[in-house]
């Protein structure tokens, strides 16, 4: 458990954090820039001190203003991957990696140099200087350096923010491996919803220096009242599914979820793989009757469980899907359509989702814990 109750005054900006989050899996700190995400992470790492409060990780008190406890950063055993790589320019990649490793007592060591080098694919870079690395390589080495300090928890402050889309795709699988193979708890700062869908288990939504909401990633994506904080275009819901079969002839993949089946563009994943699919609200249409002669492959029976009128032109509908109704998605329609079709809570409809709207970008990585 990660417990934070801390206040900090940074010039005119005030940070006032109260949160309880599980210290396992990936906890995403999400919010606009200036929401205080980095300030919170710096406070956790011990690089800045709260004015008052208490920070506890798994029964270890890191900071307590009432008890006068303030463990210095070098003894907190929290790895930190910064927004910029912050590699030591005067040391080789190897020496950078070993910097924390050499300083960690043998009993705290959780992994080996060989394992980390292999995990991040940086074996061929060991003798180079950081100046000779590409942006993606630098960030991988920075992750390796933090891992080899053998932290109890890893802090990652927008580790992909300085990289282009291709480099992001290059790093994301490595972060998924940390989560799945090393079972290292991660606090992950981001303002990118795509990264949350791929990585997060718990989401902490931050706004103006405090925690606006905290919950599982499913809750988070399903809550319409948070839309103004998460940004409207990304609105959607997570569907947990597994790969059921592949249709090689047409290049499709069939995903089974609780109460139904979804057809998507071919996904290069083995059968049985658990995935989470982000279905964006704007990719979902509604029909009152099952339409015939239509190109859309996914026509799913659904029931409207919530109607959330947005700013007047859009309305979001929450839909319980399929035979069991356990799975929920959102549909974003114009207020006009909602009016014309008389869509209201309790009504049975059909949700239409284009197969091509779902791709690798909208998938969370394989989930070992379901």
């Amino acid at each position: 458990m990660l417990e934070v109750d801390a206040e900090q005054q940074l010039g005119a900006f005030r940070l006032d954090i109260h949160m309880r989050a599980p210290s396992r899996g990936v906890t995403a700190l999400f919010g606009r820039s200036g929401a205080g995400k980095t300030s919170l992470v710096n406070m956790l790492a011990g690089l800045t001190r709260p004015t008052r409060g208490r920070i506890v990780i798994d029964d270890t008190v890191l900071f307590d203003s009432s008890g006068g406890t303030s463990i210095p950063p070098e003894r907190r055993r929290l790895g930190y991957v910064f927004q910029e790589d912050r590699l030591f320019p005067h040391l080789s990649v190897r020496s950078n990696l070993l910097y924390g490793h050499r300083r960690a007592p043998a009993r705290d060591r959780t992994t080996t140099v060989a394992e980390v080098v292999d995990l991040l694919g940086i074996g061929h870079l060991l003798d180079r200087r950081p100046a000779r690395l590409s942006g993606g390589e630098k960030q991988r080495v920075a992750i390796g350096r933090a891992l080899l300090a053998h932290p109890r928890l890893l802090l990652m402050d927008e580790p992909l923010a300085s990289l282009d889309a291709a480099r992001k795709e290059e790093i994301l699988p490595f972060i998924e491996r940390l989560r799945d193979r090393l079972r290292l708890p991660i606090v992950y700062v981001t303002h990118d919803l795509g990264e949350i869908i791929r990585l997060a288990d718990t989401v902490v939504l931050m706004s103006e220096g405090s925690v606006a909401a905290l919950g599982t990633v499913d809750d988070f994506l399903g809550r319409a009242d948070l839309r103004n904080l998460t940004g409207r275009h990304e609105a959607g819901a997570l569907l947990r599914a597994s790969v059921e079969s592949h249709d090689e002839r047409f290049g499709l993949t069939h995903l089974a979820f609780d109460g139904g089946r979804l057809r998507t563009s071919r996904l290069d994943l083995p059968i049985g793989t658990n995935v989470r699919v982000n279905i964006r609200a704007r990719d979902v249409s509604i029909a009152l009757n099952a339409p015939a002669d239509i190109s859309i492959l996914n026509v799913l029976p659904a029931r409207i469980t919530e109607v959330f009128a947005g700013d007047g032109t859009h309305t979001d509908l929450k839909l319980a899907l399929g035979s069991t109704g356990h799975a929920a998605i959102w549909a974003r329609l114009t207020a006009r359509s909602v009016h014309d079709l008389r869509l209201e809570v309790g009504r049975n409809v059909f949700a239409l989702i284009k197969a091509v709207a779902i791709d690798r970008q909208s998938l969370g990585g394989p989930q070992p814990d379901g």
Binding site: A45, G46, L47, P72, P73, E74, R75, R76, R77, L78, G79, Y80, F82, E84, R86, F88, P89, H90, Y99, G100, R103, A104, R128, R129, P130, A131, R132, R145, A146, A149
Partner: protein, 230 residues
């Protein structure tokens, strides 16, 4: 004709020894003072800053005279050193090194402080999160990144020490083989009939020594920078 005379060799050797010890002894102090000036805040810091820079603006003869008062046999520091350790500073080459160190100190501190201020403190924070204590961070991250500035400071101070004249002659006088460094020897020659040729020869030697120091520092700095740039 091009062969240096024994007297010239003696002056060169003495100057190099004085400059070496001047730099060697003041370097750790200069790093510490630069750190205090760059990284700490306390009331009266501006006074310390002024004190360090004083030798740049005060006439060298005044510095020499102050040293004479402080480090003379009966001076507060000199007397204590002699009574406790039997060390005599005044009228010895050690005194010449002290005078040179004091005069070169502001130049050294300035160069080191600039390089310290250029060190990216975010790298130091990263080192802390990797398990290094403050002093460990200073030795393994800060100091290596300051190397170019320290080299520049050392060379500047070395060259300044080689050329020190005013404070030296006031404090430790002009004793052949003990305190007669190159500049003092040149001065002596200019006061001697027919000494012009000797003065010229020593002046050329002084220029060559200074040039060697500057070129060496430039080459070293390039190597350090190349190492950091990969």
């Amino acid at each position: 004709m091009l062969q240096p005379t024994d007297l010239e060799l003696e002056a060169i050797r003495l100057s190099l020894r004085v400059a070496f010890w001047s730099v060697a002894c003041s370097l750790p102090v200069a790093v510490a003072v630069a750190w205090v000036l760059a990284r700490t805040r306390f009331p009266g810091k501006i006074l310390l800053d002024g004190l360090v820079h004083l030798p740049l603006v005060v006439p060298p003869v005044v510095v020499g005279f102050i040293l004479l008062v402080l480090f003379g046999r009966r001076g507060p520091i000199g007397g204590w050193l002699y009574d406790t350790f039997g060390i005599t500073i005044i009228f010895t080459w050690k005194g010449a090194a002290l005078a040179a160190a004091v005069m070169a100190f502001p130049l050294m501190v300035r160069a080191i402080r600039l390089s310290l201020e250029a060190v990216d403190r975010r790298l130091e924070a990263a080192a802390r999160t990797l398990g290094a204590r403050r002093f460990d961070v200073f030795m393994t991250v800060t100091l290596p990144l300051m190397t170019p500035g320290i080299l520049a400071g050392v060379v500047l101070a070395f060259a300044r020490s080689l050329g020190e004249f005013g404070a030296t002659i006031t404090f430790v006088s002009n004793i052949p083989g003990e305190t007669r460094t190159i500049p003092v020897a040149i001065y002596t020659l200019t006061q001697t009939p027919d000494g012009d040729v000797g003065a010229l020869r020593l002046s050329i030697i002084a220029v060559i020594l200074a040039l060697i120091a500057l070129v060496a520092s430039e080459l070293l700095a390039r190597r350090v920078n190349a190492r950091i740039a990969g």
